[in-house]
């Protein structure tokens, strides 16, 4: 397919519905949930659950059917648009309100890990709950620990096999787990917990375990009080002699082996899919801020001209044009990273490029927006100050800006993670 920037018709149709939700439900509620930090955005959750459930059901049914070899994989004409559609959706929902967006009832990162390395049996057992019922269900991923943030290989949570009962016994503390409380206490959800079966083995010892809601020994110790994305649930999970069945260790026996990093690599590859989504989310917040600034400036009679040399622009015009150019640049990087996934291409370089750029740009753009609107920008009367607080998380989670730069740097220099630390 030749170079094109034409948004597929199906995505455009989807976006109309998404936009209605974003502007009709999320925006009007955005300030409320910012001010009522641990309340749940019920309207948003209730409205999105049936949609997410049906979508997850279709995905799961397709996966299981394929695993059984029942239906031959449909010959599609050209690549799909699943990831493209997702980035457009994330962008629009985050334009509405990124805090609420993060409360979307889905398997999300847990689902991605299970899809990446889970066996067909595991997919069915863990993901079916996301595909049925009236009650929303959440999935979460717990990697980060107090002593292991960017350096995931430093995790200390342990998994020890009890040969008598054939159960894993998990011990440790996981922090900053998005939707951890929703998954474990407020729904029949799951958390993919990363633990080590052998601390001396480094990455090869790190394995993903599925912990289900209601597992004894698993408690939510704390939910964080945050700078932004306050509607989002960020939980501390403590695992104390938490016993889970042997088969909750994700992956085939091959993946589970102690001397390979296949499991780690497989699930790390889910970053290739999640980073473009976070980048897209950042873009939604950035677009919200830019549109708002332009609207307010226009009310003051300040128009943004396209075509004048920089030296002939006012400082405000120059800032706004710079915001717009930077957002566009980051957005196109995001689209490319997503499109590569749809084409089945390896995109970890491009995903990190998009994430690093988007995190940095949205942070700067929203800070600029507050600045450009003077005292009213700083006031909670408008949402720009909130967007600035919401934006910052995009340069932190799913790999900080620095970590994503590090990935890009290694790739362009041809260095391993040992050669460039």
């Amino acid at each position: 397919m030749p170079i094109s920037f034409e948004i597929p018709e199906r995505i455009r149709q989807n976006l109309q519905m998404t936009e209605a939700l974003a502007s009709g439900i999320m925006r009007p509620d955005a300030r409320y949930y910012d001010e009522h930090e641990h309340e749940r955005p019920h309207t948003f959750i209730t409205m999105t659950w049936p949609v997410m459930r049906d979508q997850q059901k279709r995905q799961l049914d397709r996966m299981t059917a394929q695993a059984r070899g029942e239906v031959p994989e449909k010959k599609r004409e050209g690549p799909g648009i699943i990831y493209l559609n997702m980035v457009f959706t994330f962008e629009m929902l985050s334009w509405g309100d990124v805090g609420q967006m993060l409360c979307m009832p889905t398997a999300l990162l847990a689902g991605a890990a299970i899809e990446a390395v889970g066996t067909p049996e595991q997919k069915e057992r863990f993901l079916r709950r996301f595909a049925e019922g009236d009650q929303p269900v959440w999935g979460a991923m717990a990697m980060t620990e107090p002593g292991a943030g960017s350096d995931t290989s430093a995790i200390q949570t342990t998994a020890v096999l009890d040969p008598q009962t054939n159960e894993w016994i998990l011990n440790g503390e996981k922090i900053f787990c998005t939707n951890g409380k929703l998954a474990l206490e407020e729904s029949n959800g799951i958390v993919v917990v990363w633990a080590t079966v052998d601390r001396s083995a480094g990455r090869a010892g790190m394995k993903p375990f599925v912990v289900e809601a209601g597992t004894p020994g698993v408690t939510i110790e704390k939910v964080e009080i945050k700078h932004g994305i306050r509607a989002s649930d960020t939980a501390t999970i403590v695992l104390k002699d938490a016993r889970i069945p042997y088969d909750n260790l994700l992956g085939s026996p091959e993946v589970q082996r102690r001397d390979t990093t296949e499991g780690f690599k497989g699930a790390m590859a889910t970053f290739d899919a999640s980073r473009p989504l976070i980048a897209a989310s950042a873009m939604g917040v950035g677009r919200a801020a830019l549109e708002f600034v332009k609207e307010k400036l226009a009310e003051e009679g300040i128009e943004i001209p396209y075509g004048k040399p920089r030296h002939a622009l006012s400082a405000v015009q120059r800032d706004v044009l710079e915001m717009e150019a930077q957002l566009r640049a980051a957005w196109l990087l995001t689209l490319r990273a997503a499109s590569m996934l749809d084409h089945g291409l390896h995109n970890s370089l491009e995903a990190s490029m998009a994430k690093a750029k988007a995190g940095k740009v949205v942070t700067w753009v929203t800070q600029k927006a507050v600045e450009l609107l003077g005292p009213r920008g700083y006031s909670c009367e408008w949402l720009v100050e909130k967007w600035m607080r919401d934006a910052k998380i995009n340069d932190i989670y799913e790999g900080t800006g620095q970590i994503n730069l590090l990935i890009v740097a290694r790739r362009i220099l041809g260095y391993s993670s040992r050669e460039l630390t």
């Binding site: 920089r310 030296h311 640049a329 890009v408 362009i412 260095y415």
Partner: protein
Amino acid sequence: MISFTPTDEQQMLIETVRRYATHNVRPVAHDADEGGAFPADVLQTGWELGILPGNIPEALGGLGETHSAVTGVLAYEELGYGDLSLALHLMSPALMAIPLVLDGTDAQREEFMPLFLEETPPPVTAALIEPRIHFAPDDLKTTATYENGGYLLNGHKVCVPLAEGAQWILVYAWNPDAGQVDGFLVRGDAPGLTVGPREKLMGVRALPTYSLMLDNVRVDAACRLGGEQGIDFRRIQAHSRVALAALGVGVMRGALEYAVDYAKQRVQFGQPIATKQAIAFMLAECAIEIDAARLMVWEAAWKLDQGQDATRESYLAKQYVDQAAVMVTDSAVQTLGGYGYIREYPVERWLRNARGLATFYGLAIV
């Protein structure tokens, strides 16, 4: 459907131009910059690539299926990667040919188009920039006044590439009767037209550029590009911004490639400097800027090919490249440390050239 893959034909074009840039242009770029010109045989090989005729539609006598800005920017990036002066020199015939494709009347195309299909194109150029610190392309002081069935051109232009000995110069001027900027095809030897001495600029020093004085230069009404309608200057500007931006992407790519190699080889404190985040992150940021810039150029070019107004996209792309090109080439100089400052190494030339991009208007078109 959103896609980032050039067609097979485009890919072939990219590779052809890249080979030329790598093997013919880059090795002589330093001497050309110092000496003020590229060797004639390098230029000749460049004409023979047929980039311009390939982008003139068959219907107008060219060799291409359609005129495509996307195809154009893919080739231009490679030329920019070779050398900015060379690229601007080689594509100077396009300064007249593409506006003819876009806005020329049938008669004008019939008369002039065959010139551009010769093996060696004619010496033609265009004049847009004027010597004022407040210069803006849509606020020209050069005027074209209608009088007795023709136009009288008056004004002062600078940065006109290859003006000396040019057969035709497309002069952009404010046309008060039409209330718009128009383009006029002026003979290089027209009475009243004086080509000044060759200019000395900070960069693009292998590209001969000149100032131009127009003192009551008279042209026939038929020399107004686009006839009675004149030109769509917005669109021409968009095509021009996209072209310059594409060249800038090539300049950046060349600079980063060089800096990456250097940083991996240069040992200080017992280790290659590339193993330090201060260097590695700077280079990573450059890589991101280059890819982002390229995508913006592609999007703007694609919009042009769709026949849509690409004023905004081309403008943002050009603004973006103008800044990114300086940032990236400066990072390359910085990576080389003291050597970066020495003319024997190419990075300082790329920085000088890149800085020109923000100043250039109408010096390239695709």
